[in-house]
């Protein structure tokens, strides 16, 4: 693959075959056969003159169908046939840069998706991504870096340049939490089944809250010294992409320990069904890593 920046990736199994999609600065790529070969996805550009970078991607199952959503050129591409055909829906004007893309736990019934942007707040779709509208009432910081739904479908968190915001109505409106502003920006979030919320920052380590963001405690103060690009909760275990390392912990009360060291900053990851993790690197590479118990 060329040396370009990798923003996001998603993977799933279809007919026993692993399929993956990556969002990169030079477009959208797809692979199958355990990622043996990557091909660039083709779609009609929505407008001339806009960069072709795909900045966020996600996939969500609806029955036997798999929907893939990718953010590019001020809008969202969606496909329901494993990337063969793509349909474009614009976000707001002027075209925003999308930083994160998240389906609701209630996507199957309600068609709800949220999109965070770098300067234009949050947009919301209630029709499976066909149309979008701004949804940022109360979002005093429109520089959104990450979104995370809690276990309940109505509670969602937004990590921004200055902290964490919470919505109790599935993203229709937002309120500030008491995340310490000096510890921001918040690059990653993970809402655990226990109700706890983890927030990974750029320079200030890892924070945890057990009361929907009203109070925060710093975790493992000496462990995290670099950017925590992503947090995952996979098969009852916590994972953090910390610089060029993958760290893990049993729970928020346990110590965080480095699991794997690589040579490049790990920017993104996606969990696979079979105890493996798909990692994406800053230089555009991706690799599958087996997870140890």
């Amino acid at each position: 693959m060329m040396d370009t920046h990798l923003y996001g990736l998603t993977a799933y199994y279809h007919e026993n075959q692993l399929r993956a999609f990556v969002a990169r600065s030079d477009g959208l790529y797809t692979a199958c056969d355990d990622l043996a070969q990557w091909t660039k996805a083709t779609y009609t550009p929505p407008a001339a003159g806009l960069p072709e970078a795909v900045t966020a991607i996600c996939s969500v199952a609806q029955g036997s169908e798999m929907h893939i959503f990718a953010a590019t050129q001020g809008g969202i591409l969606r496909s329901s046939n494993h990337g063969q055909d793509w349909f474009f829906a614009a976000l707001t004007a002027p075209p925003p840069v999308v930083s994160c893309l998240l389906p609701s736990p209630a996507f199957v019934d309600e068609g709800l998706l949220l999109v965070g942007t770098l300067e234009d707040g949050i947009c919301r779709s209630e029709d499976y991504g066909r149309s979008w509208s701004p949804s940022g009432f109360g979002l005093l910081d429109r520089h959104v870096l990450v979104l995370a739904f809690a276990g309940q479908e109505d509670i969602v968190y937004a990590g921004t340049e200055t902290g964490v915001f919470v919505s109790h109505n599935a993203g229709r409106s937002w309120r500030e939490t008491h995340f310490p502003m000096e510890a921001a920006p918040v690059l990653s979030l993970a809402a655990l089944p226990s109700g706890e919320l983890l927030a990974g920052t750029e320079r200030s380590g890892l924070y945890a809250s057990s009361d929907q963001g009203q109070t925060w405690l710093r975790q493992s103060e000496t462990a995290f010294t670099e950017a925590i690009n992503q947090l995952l909760y996979v098969r009852g275990r916590l994972y953090a992409l910390h610089g060029d390392q993958l760290w893990s912990a049993q729970d928020t009360q346990s110590d965080w320990l480095p699991q794997t060291q690589t040579n490049q900053s790990i920017t993104t990851a996606a969990a696979l069904l079979d105890q493996r993790l798909l990692l994406g690197f800053d230089d555009g590479r991706s690799v599958i890593l087996p997870l140890s118990d």
Binding site: E119, G138, R142, T162, M181
Partner: protein, 532 residues
Amino acid sequence: MHPNVVFQPHAQQRLQAGIHQIVAPIRVTLGPLARHVINEETFRTRNAEIIDNGGIIARRILQLPDRDADMGAMLVRHMVTRLYKEYGDCTATAAVLFQTIFDEGLRVITAGIDAMSLRQHLLAGAEQIDRLLADMVAPAAGKDQLSRVAESLCHDAELAQMLGEIFDVIGEYGRLDIRRASGRALVREYVDGAYWEDGLHSPVFLSGGGGKPAELMRPALLLTDLMIQEAEQLESTLYAVRARGAQSLVIVAQQVSDRVIAVLHGNALKFPMIAVKTPGGLLNRQTALEDLAALTGGRLFLQAAGDDLSRVTAADLGMAQRFRASLDYMLVVGGASRPADFRHYVAQLRTYMARAAHPSARDICRERIGRLMGGSVTLRVGAFSDTETRLRQELAERTATSLRAVVRSGVLPGGGVALLACQEELRQQHDTVEERAAVNILRRALETPLLTIADNSGYDSSTVLARLRSYPQGYGFDAHSGRYVPMLKAGIVDVADAYRAAVRMAITSAAQALTISALVHCKNPEQVLDPA
């Protein structure tokens, strides 16, 4: 003219008569199955006016024929009007409480209790009741719960559903504009961005041949209350805009001359530029500019500071993602101030609001915060006829005011249940004769709202009260269904801060009224009204 002085016992008897006369029409409006009152004619419309709100009824009763009784009515009118202005709700509750406390208080004073001592104990009882009510307050959140609360306030299911959804989004601060719709429509429109009610200096800036609002992408904003008479004043601004890399320019200024407007409009094809009025009107201009500056990250150029526009730099300009303006409004979407600075600014406004002593100062702060929250809603209310539409619009406005208070301060179990729950605690007072008298008066008064609601709904109030005593705490009488239900769960609630204020005001006002021992009329009313 010599003053006309009325002494005891005539003074308090006439006060009592006046209180009864003004409370009688207000009392019938309490509860979900309340009656209406018709006012003979209004000054504006010369039509009969149907009223269902105690605050409005009190305002319509301008003067009773009996001057002595009118002074008693004035006491109630003042209390109810103040409640209506500040909270828009619970005026009938306050009126019936006032009447009961005054009647019972007058009875014990006539029997020999000292009025001043009684007053002290009534005030102490008011504080205790307020603490007990504060402990009972429950938060109200979520679309469904807010809709239930709205329905208990307005008894219009469709309107309640809409308002519940709206307040679930905009919360305590957001701007809601309620207008009339044509037909029976009930339509709401959410608008992203900060909205001000002042717009373009000239219709030439409208787009699409003069019809549509002007819309600019990624504009720079020059924020000033200066008057721009010559195009040369904008020279440094234009250099700054180019240095900033903006795609368009919005000039916010108090006055822009026709010459300058012509220059701006003439260059619109090369580089879009528009001029809008400094928002906020005469009184709020400075704060509106400060809010705009905080939102967009721009610097203010102010007359009072001796600023001029000769040295505007790129850093002085505000920025936004989008700007829209018509002749009547402007909308700023995605202000580009530093997020940390902006959040601090809004936090300061919240602090200022919490500390503001005057309700109007709090309202202004709330409006400013709501604007900066980045969105607003317009609700269009329609009905079958003009009169119905007007009534429905007023109902929507009152319900919206109450819902805003609900989001802010929470709810209490409705139907008079909250006050009944306070009775048991008051029983535990150990007292002097005056203290015991005050406790008995308050215990009697605490039943009045529930009894009145039952009476107004056509039930035997004493039977309702007796049956309710056998239910667990929190249960109350649902006048609609005639059943005894858990009030909070059933959504039959009262707005916490309005209710507490009503109870507090009723007890303190009535306690004060009981200490009146003489009435003084300084002028002949006919001479006051007749300028000759």
